[in-house]
């Protein structure tokens, strides 16, 4: 009996050996003029994708890209599959790239396959290309990583810009009165390198499932502040009437948004708090002096406040798209009012809603020195600037 049963353990219909699969690291989708989709896939080449063995020779790439055209994702993927000696395997896919053109037409049609396919993961990062096509992006190499899209994943994870996983985007799309904002990726020329590379360039603002506009790096950080997603950032400010600049690491940022009804209208209050560590001081201010620290605090808070305000202006009035999910805050606080508001939220009500921002950033540490060590004693400004 045991002997017979053991056959059941070893025999397996769906056996797939590692050397039978082609590991897809990233998939890119572009819209062609004839409304067909061009699907490109970046594959990791086995045997050369390890982290070690530095000094990768240019002749031996660790990845290759193939693309094909079809009416939907599956159709195009199948076209690629027919040319491959190994089976497409998307379970390790890191990045899903959506071409700018397709994004403008609406991304909903391509999203179904991503969640229906049991191999595909909701943790995959999603990016939009800016200025190039998705298939071009996949062809682009990156100096640090052997597999270029691995770099994009690491960059997203470091949270300098937006970090959007497939799950987050699907939730934003599925929630009424909310739109996704995705990181935008463009081609850049890295200095000292002959070949082009890519970097995150701000964010791509959607309205429902259509791309409506871009945000620059500074506004994208504004989005992070508005959504309470800031992990760590550097803010550089100039103190009025003082020469030089002060830079500080902003840490422990926390943004709270609350909705209140005032005279029948709903007003949103955005309160941001954070701590700052001064890391560079090119002014003559002595930061051991409390009143100087106060000046720096005010300036940093004002700077962050301005950034949030300008971002908000952009999404409220220019794009009319609630990518920060403030509609959901009203939904949570006033579920009854929301019922009538939700259908008209993004285009009609969101641009008109009063949103008040207040930022309070406290300087906690000023680094290893009070005044800069290189300034002669008499030039150090101990008191407040006149």
């Amino acid at each position: 009996m045991i002997f017979l049963l053991s056959f059941g353990l070893v025999g397996c219909w769906d056996r797939v050996e590692v050397n039978d699969i082609a590991i897809v690291m990233a998939t890119g989708v572009d819209l062609l003029p004839d409304h067909k989709l061009k699907v490109s896939a970046q594959y990791a080449l086995p045997g050369s994708s390890g982290q070690k063995g530095g000094g990768a020779s240019e002749s031996k790439k660790a990845y290759f890209v193939d693309s094909s055209v079809g009416v939907d994702l599956r159709d195009a993927t199948q076209q690629i599959q027919e040319r491959l000696s190994r089976r497409n395997f998307v379970a390790h896919r890191r990045i899903f790239v959506i071409g700018e053109k397709l994004a403008r037409q609406g991304i909903r049609p391509i999203l179904d396959e991503l969640s229906r396919n049991p191999e595909s993961r909701l943790r995959t990062y999603v990016v939009i290309t800016k200025g190039i096509t998705a298939s071009d992006l996949l062809q682009t190499s990156y100096p640090f990583e052997k597999i270029p899209m691995e770099a994009l994943r690491e960059i997203e994870r470091s949270r300098v810009g937006l970090e959007v996983q497939l799950k987050d985007m699907l939730i934003a799309l599925a929630t009424e009165g909310q739109s996704p904002v995705l990181p935008a990726v463009g081609k850049v020329q890295l200095q000292g390198d002959t070949k082009a590379s890519f970097r995150l360039i701000g964010g791509a603002v959607f309205k429902d499932d259509k791309l409506v506009g871009w945000l620059n790096d500074s506004s994208t950080r504004g989005i992070l502040w508005l959504r309470n997603e800031v992990k760590r950032t550097v803010v550089t400010v100039k103190i009025p009437k003082v020469q030089g600049y002060i830079s500080s690491d902003v840490v422990r940022a926390n943004t709270k948004v609350s909705a209140k009804k005032e005279n029948g209208a709903i007003v949103l209050y955005v309160k941001s708090m954070a701590e700052a560590d001064v890391t560079e001081n090119t002014t003559e201010l002595d930061l051991m002096e409390p009143q100087n620290v106060k000046l720096v605090e005010d300036e940093i808070s004002k700077r962050v406040n301005d950034r949030m305000q300008s971002t908000l202006d952009k999404i409220q009035h220019e794009y009319k798209s609630d990518v920060v999910g403030y509609g959901e805050i009203i939904h949570r606080t006033y579920p009854r009012d929301w019922r009538t508001m939700k259908s008209n939220w993004e285009t009609g009500l969101f641009p008109k809603t009063k949103i008040l921002i207040s930022v309070s950033i406290k300087v906690r540490r000023v680094g290893m020195t009070g005044p800069s060590l290189d300034i002669p004693e008499k030039e150090i400004k101990r008191g407040a600037p006149q």
Partner: protein, 366 residues
């Protein structure tokens, strides 16, 4: 008597767990959120109350007819003809639950794991196991239960703890956005899973400490309710509005989790423990179907019925549902009504009539 097998209360209570949750935690989050939205995590609370009612009715019946199962005392309450028709109907119901569990198992494995493996191959593996266990008797099943359930619980708790960092409590609020009604309506969906606890009727006669049965059963129903609520809560907290559109939200959750970037894709763990839990549930239902048939036709040795019953269940599992959409619509629309009839209404009628007609089992074994 040929079955002198006895059951301890710990074994008994641990068996109740996979009986409800094995298939429940997989399908319930998505079908309840489809009705109650983000409030669905509360729904199992009310299903649990129904579960307690079912358990109480069965317990009361068992005290009136000690050492007998529902199939045996059914004719004693309603008389030979009507009683046997009811009993036969109950046995058919057990067979259909077995078939449904088998189908849920093969559908799930075919969807998430082995897509090219014919369902029959999977089903034969499962049925071979259950035939073996049923052949050996309920005691063997209960001994395996302890280890499987503890291991399953461990994996489940790990999954829940790991998902704490990704839970977004904002997804849970606002509470009762559409009022209380959808929550109650959604509570009807997991109710039949709790109602399947009526099968304890086959276990109670064998318990070695029958005086503790009622409290142990109620504690277990509460525990199961907590697990169901926790499952709904975590999946909604992580996936928000997406839960209702997923087929297996808990499995998606296991796929989504990542521990410090090196431990990812915990789905094989879920799959492994789930298979074991389903094995328990299926074997138990196979066992009681066989027992039911034996008691119905007063067959002394139930062993000759094991393989024929297994074949009937396999065939049923293929014939009952056309595809997985059919299965899910059965689970979310038909089963709440069908289940309530079989698990709540019929036993309730039995209990009431046993009092009205003053029918009682003789305590000749005590």
């Amino acid at each position: 008597m040929e079955n002198k097998e006895t059951i301890s209360n710990i074994q008994y209570s641990l068996l109740l767990l996979p009986l409800v949750t094995a298939t429940g935690i997989l399908y319930v989050p998505s079908v309840t959120t489809a009705v109650a939205g983000r409030d669905a995590w509360l729904s199992p609370l009310f299903s649990g109350l129904l579960g307690i009612v079912v358990v109480w009715i069965i317990y009361k019946l068992s005290t009136r007819f000690p050492e007998q199962s529902i199939v045996e005392y059914c004719p004693k309450i309603f008389g030979k003809w009507i009683g046997n028709v009811f009993a036969a109907y109950l046995v058919l119901y057990f067979a259909s639950v077995s078939a449904t569990v088998l189908r849920e198992f093969s559908d799930f494995v075919n969807t998430v794991g082995l897509r090219l493996t014919p369902p029959l191959a999977l089903i034969i593996c499962m049925v071979t196991l259950s035939v073996y266990v049923t052949w050996q008797g309920i005691e063997v099943l209960l001994r395996t239960t302890i280890w499987i359930v503890l291991f399953t619980l461990f994996i489940y708790i790990v999954i829940v703890i790991l998902s704490i960092p990704v839970i977004d409590l904002k997804q849970i609020r606002p509470f009762f956005e559409n009022g209380f009604k959808p929550v109650l309506k959604a509570a009807l969906i997991p109710a039949p899973w709790f109602g399947e606890l009526m099968t304890i009727s086959f276990l109670i006669p064998r318990l070695n400490q029958p005086q503790k049965t009622s409290s142990v059963s109620v504690y277990m129903v509460i525990f199961i309710t907590i697990i169901m609520m926790l499952t709904n809560f975590t999946t909604i907290g992580v996936f928000g509005p997406l839960v209702s559109r997923m087929t297996f939200p808990l499995y998606e959750l296991a796929r989504f989790l990542s521990v410090g970037d090196f431990l990812e894709r915990l789905d094989p763990f879920i799959l492994a423990v789930w298979l074991m839990a389903v094995f328990l549930k299926f074997s138990f239902f196979h066992y009681i179907t066989v027992q039911g048939i034996a008691q119905l036709f007063q067959i002394k040795d139930y062993h000759i019925l094991i393989i024929p019953t297994a074949i009937i269940i396999v065939v049923l599992s293929f014939r009952l549902y056309a595809n997985s959409a059919d299965l899910i619509s059965f689970l979310s629309i038909t089963y709440p009504i069908y289940g309530t009839l079989m698990q709540l209404i019929i036993p309730a009628i039995m209990l009431v009539s046993s009092y009205v007609l003053k029918r009682k089992g003789d305590r000749n074994h005590e």
